[in-house]
């Protein structure tokens, strides 16, 4: 039984974090927020700055332990939320601040 569980969970314990680390990418420019996430299913999301409604960072207990944060960029479309998990907390804060600034200076009605 132990071996069944061990072998069964091996992909999620070893392969998943590694592949996620290798795959995940993100970039905020003065035009758009962009992210690539996923493991078995890869997902690219792009949100134009003129449609951004909010930028926030979320930190769970485990993330706080490792000094990480999750960046969330929300738009009028719920499915369009650009999520960047596991970014260094300081970088995340700085990126959120910078993107918020760009958003403020970009005309657009966020819809």
């Amino acid at each position: 039984m132990f071996w069944v569980v061990a072998v069964g969970s091996a992909p999620t314990v070893i392969v998943m974090p590694l592949s996620r680390y290798l795959v995940h990418r993100w970039e905020f420019t003065d035009k758009a927020a962009y992210s690539l996430t996923g493991w078995l299913v890869r997902e690219w999301r792009i949100a134009p700055v003129s449609r951004i409604q909010g930028v926030n960072t979320v930190r769970g207990p485990l993330q706080r332990l490792f000094g990480l944060a999750t960046l969330r960029v929300t738009t009028a479309s719920e499915e369009g939320t650009v999520v960047v998990p596991g970014v260094d907390a300081d970088i995340a804060t700085e990126a959120a601040r910078a993107l918020t600034e760009i958003t403020w200076s970009t005309p657009g009605d966020a819809t």
């Binding site: 035009k31 758009a32 299913v41 890869r42 690219w44 819809t111």
Partner: protein, 529 residues
């Protein structure tokens, strides 16, 4: 009803102003009086209470039902009555604790006496105003007014106010309809109810399920009077002579008939006097629908928030061209309990009628919904065949594993080709293109949806690729927008075409993230890794 100030309302507002939109003071709006719901709501509710008590009284007095009769005794009657009593108490409570008013810049609502909630909608955020009435409201000349502000549900509901007051509020919030002021009959309607639309609206693959639900509720209704419908049906027919298969067929057919009759009645009840027209108001034009026999409904949709249109065709109605027509607008509630969402501008009609109406609504002569679409690569078909094979194998394995009768294997053997047929149908519905200012996509098996969305409404992209899609060289594209369903999809495009398509639609947005892939064919571009 009467204009009065709710006790302590003014102080509450002031203490609430911290949550308000900014520094503007309420001083100049404080003298706008607060209104209450109409007192007739109370009488309507009391009448409702009396009606809800009828089943219990009838069951007890005339049928002599008591705790020991039938399978459930007096309980069903008691439950119905207590639901009625609860509704009445809630209605009274609502009248008792609701105040509203319209000031120059916002609509305000206060509910509650002990715990007071204050809610406001800035007037420039109001996207739709909908008035409706059930039969009991119409007898009492009351209307339910719903204000939508672009959230998923309705932002604001006044249940209920006088019909005149509702009309006055609608005019004040949405601008008067020009033709009403001029006293003319108004413009030529875009569409009016046609009798033969019943064919499209009463034929449904779910009719049997609706019939079953009806019988289920009838079962409980008759339990009130200690009549067991199960015994009645057992006596109707010699079921044993029919055998299992025969009984299922006859039963299913009856259920289907009952459901169809119900749908027919429902169609005329909801759509009676249906009229779709474009009406001029103080600030622009609105698409207005009016309909309803017992329960009337009027929906106004501002044209300046129109971002496109969509039509969908159910799989089993496709042979007769059944089509549902919707507008894609910002600020329309996507889901409303109990009624069709306000985005549906036409009952189900023929495809031809839907195309005619779509052309009149969009007005630009482009007819994006009729544009020829680019089919998706063959790999998308193979991927769907893969799913059909997986489902067939699982079904066969399930029959093998469970100790069921041998002939179930035959059922699976017959069904398998059907799965592959469905896969092919699903593949054939895939398509996408760009026409003028529109991006058009089509997808769906049970309901094939074609959407034409203005490119200016595109508020982002989402590309997805599963393991299988990577194997087949496919990629699913999601068009994100603030309008309509918020998210429209173009599943299984070729990996090279997906970013190219998006890049063509919103070039300035994707330019930074696309890389030219020179190792493959020259036109191929990829999402940057």
């Amino acid at each position: 009803m009467s204009s009065m100030s709710p006790p302590g309302a003014a102080e509450e507002i002031r203490s609430d102003s911290g949550r308000g939109p900014g520094p503007q003071s309420h001083a100049e709006t404080d003298d706008v009086p607060w209104s209450r719901l109409d007192l007739r709501v109370v009488w309507v509710n009391l009448f409702g209470l009396l009606v809800s008590l009828v089943p219990t009284v009838v069951a007890r007095v005339f049928f002599g039902v008591d705790a020991d009769s039938g399978s459930f005794g007096l309980w069903p009657a008691l439950i119905i009555s207590s639901i009625g009593v609860t509704g009445t108490v809630l209605g009274l409570n609502r009248w008792w604790k609701t105040w509203y008013r319209i000031t120059d810049d916002r609509v305000e609502l206060i509910t509650g006496r002990v715990v007071r909630t204050y809610r406001y909608v800035p007037r420039e955020r109001i996207r739709t105003v909908e008035t409706g009435a059930r039969l009991r409201h119409r007898i009492a000349r009351l209307r339910i007014l719903e204000v939508g502000s672009g959230e998923k549900g309705s932002a604001f509901k006044l249940d209920a106010i006088q019909a005149d007051e509702a009309e006055r509020l609608r005019r004040e919030l949405m601008g008067a309809h020009a033709e009403e002021d001029e006293g003319t009959d108004g413009p030529e309607p875009i569409a009016v109810l046609r009798r033969h639309w019943i064919l499209y609206n009463a034929t449904s693959m779910w009719a049997a399920a609706i019939g079953a639900l009806l019988l289920f509720s009838a079962f409980w209704t008759f339990q009130v009077f200690a009549v067991d419908l199960r015994d009645v049906f057992r006596g109707l027919w010699d079921w044993d002579a029919l055998g299992t298969l025969g009984s299922v067929l006859v039963g299913g057919l009856c259920l289907h008939l009952i459901g169809t009759v119900f749908l027919t009645i429902g169609f005329f009840k909801d759509r009676w006097g249906f009229r779709l027209e474009r009406v001029r108001t103080d600030d622009g034009t609105v698409l207005r629908t009016r309909e309803g026999l017992l329960r009337t409904r009027e929906v106004n949709r501002e044209d300046r928030r129109l971002r496109g249109m969509s039509v969908s065709q159910p799989l089993l109605g496709r042979w007769m061209g059944t089509t549902e027509t919707e507008v894609v607008s910002t600020g329309l509630a996507a889901w409303t309990p109990g009624t069709d969402p306000p985005s549906i501008v036409l009952p189900k009609t023929s495809g031809k009628e839907a195309r005619r109406v779509a052309g009149l609504i969009l007005q630009d002569g482009i007819c994006p919904l009729e544009a020829p679409l680019t089919p998706h690569p063959r790999a998308a078909l193979y991927r769907r065949f893969g799913w059909a094979a997986v489902v067939s194998v699982i079904a066969a394995a399930a029959v093998k594993a469970w100790p069921v009768e041998e002939h179930w294997m035959t059922v699976v053997a017959v069904a398998s080709p059907l799965f592959f047929l469905l896969a092919a149908i699903a593949y054939r519905s895939l398509g996408h293109t760009r026409v003028g200012p529109y991006v058009v996509t089509r997808w769906g098996l049970w309901s094939r949806t074609t959407v034409a969305l203005q490119t200016r409404a595109v508020a982002g992209w989402r590309f997805r690729q599963s393991l299988a899609q990577r194997l087949f060289g496919l990629m699913s594209v999601g068009v994100l927008t603030a309008a309509g369903a918020r998210h429209y999809k173009a599943p299984d495009m070729a990996v090279g075409d997906a970013p190219w398509f998006a890049g063509q639609t919103t070039p300035e947005l994707l330019a930074d993230f696309l890389v030219e892939d020179t190792t493959h064919r020259s036109a191929k571009r990829e999402m940057r890794k």
